[in-house]
Symmetry: C2
Amino acid sequence: MSELEARLAALRERVEAALGEWLPLPADDPGQLFAATRYSALEGGKRLRPALCLLGAEAVGGDVARALPAACALEMIHVYSLVHDDLPAMDDDDLRRGRPTCHKAYSEWLAILVGDGLQTRAFETLALAYADDPPLGLDLVRLLAEASGNLGMVGGQVRDMAAMGRDLDEAALEAVHREKTGALLRAAVLLGARIGGAQASDARFHALDRYARALGLAFQVADDILDCTASTAELGKTAGKDAEQGKLTYVSLLGLEGARSKAKALEATALAALSELGPAAEPLRQLASYVVDRGA
Amino acid sequence: MSELEARLAALRERVEAALGEWLPLPADDPGQLFAATRYSALEGGKRLRPALCLLGAEAVGGDVARALPAACALEMIHVYSLVHDDLPAMDDDDLRRGRPTCHKAYSEWLAILVGDGLQTRAFETLALAYADDPPLGLDLVRLLAEASGNLGMVGGQVRDMAAMGRDLDEAALEAVHREKTGALLRAAVLLGARIGGAQASDARFHALDRYARALGLAFQVADDILDCTASTAELGKTAGKDAEQGKLTYVSLLGLEGARSKAKALEATALAALSELGPAAEPLRQLASYVVDRGA
């Protein structure tokens, strides 16, 4: 295990412990709502967004523990989007993180409500955890909402669904991913940076923003490569699904080698963005290479 | 038109204008996401939650205009819950506010995402509109999230779905409605009171809380009465649906006359709660009687 992998595993453990506390199982659990929420949120997952948030705080000299609730809020938004994206009316997927999807394990109506409640809990977590610093807390709410709403994650998912079976060029594909996955990955780094003490006007904040934009796209390119090279067992979700559904991917657009080159170029952009940051940003540098090498 | 009805119509007009501004239609509307959002949010509706918020602010001497963004956020949460509740996997309803439901007019996948985006926009609206007073803004985020999450509206909807066809007693039915509709109606008054200048520790805040709890339940009892006495055309949604789906209602539990007596008793409780408040609370008093008389 590399130094980064050990670090990520340690962060993942802290995030999962904190997530378990923010998503408790009450004695009275109406219709298994809380159990289904925990089923979807607590098992498996790379916890990439939480890691980006925690390492973003660290990169500007902040405290990892202070960023933990925001890391959980980001993961709640991510999990809610997965639960809804897997629904029969959307991507209609049976497998997620190696197990039946929420609507398969429980029911379709409960999965809709699990997603709804997870989104609410994300904002509630920010309001509760940062009540001692309301200007910070309200700024985090705004950043998270901007990244996950109609001009971010939700809008990107709509673009993706609406584009099914249509021809997109590379610019249009990038627009989908910038919103669908990029916006929340970017928000993860920026929430961490704000909690770590960087103001939106700081040069470090802008450097991390450039890093996060490149990383977010690199992640998607690597994901597209993995979807057509890895097995369902390796992925923990149905492999080859994108090609089967006629979805445009970086592989279908650029070919496998072209997609790999693009991922490497984005890695270089991400690393260059961090050149002014000191050794505290080293884990983020390693993470950029790690994300790209997943698909190599 | 009564004095109250004229007042409600004027408030409704202001709320709908503000909602239209908070939910704009951009030139680039991916997959009709914004159009479907406006379709669901801007046409029809009693706008009861916004009215409670605005009149709650006024009742403690606050400014109605200052409460307008929160009134919009409350309505966004309400509309998102309607769009999701109408889905085939939930209540499977074709008609809402006299028109095809969102998933009928657009598609099921888009309706899921319209609801998701409306929830996000509600919290974003609070973060943007109250950025000049972060302690207030963050408190509003917390109150709205508590009311609409797993221990509020979402949890109540789960209880309601899980209880379908089962026998509940009056206490269990009240628990469903306290969460499903009561929590957000209560939040509407409390958000208004906070914006109007009342602190959570104020006697006026507690008086409005008692008022809102009674009003929320009275509203549900009146709704149950209407569902079995009014026509689909009068309701703007499918009438008699509850009885058809075997849902327990206050009418099935207490009979029509029993339900009417209960509504009158709750009206009295709501009015008593406001006895210490001055003439600024007069519209809220009239509203309690108005809500109950709807079902009389």
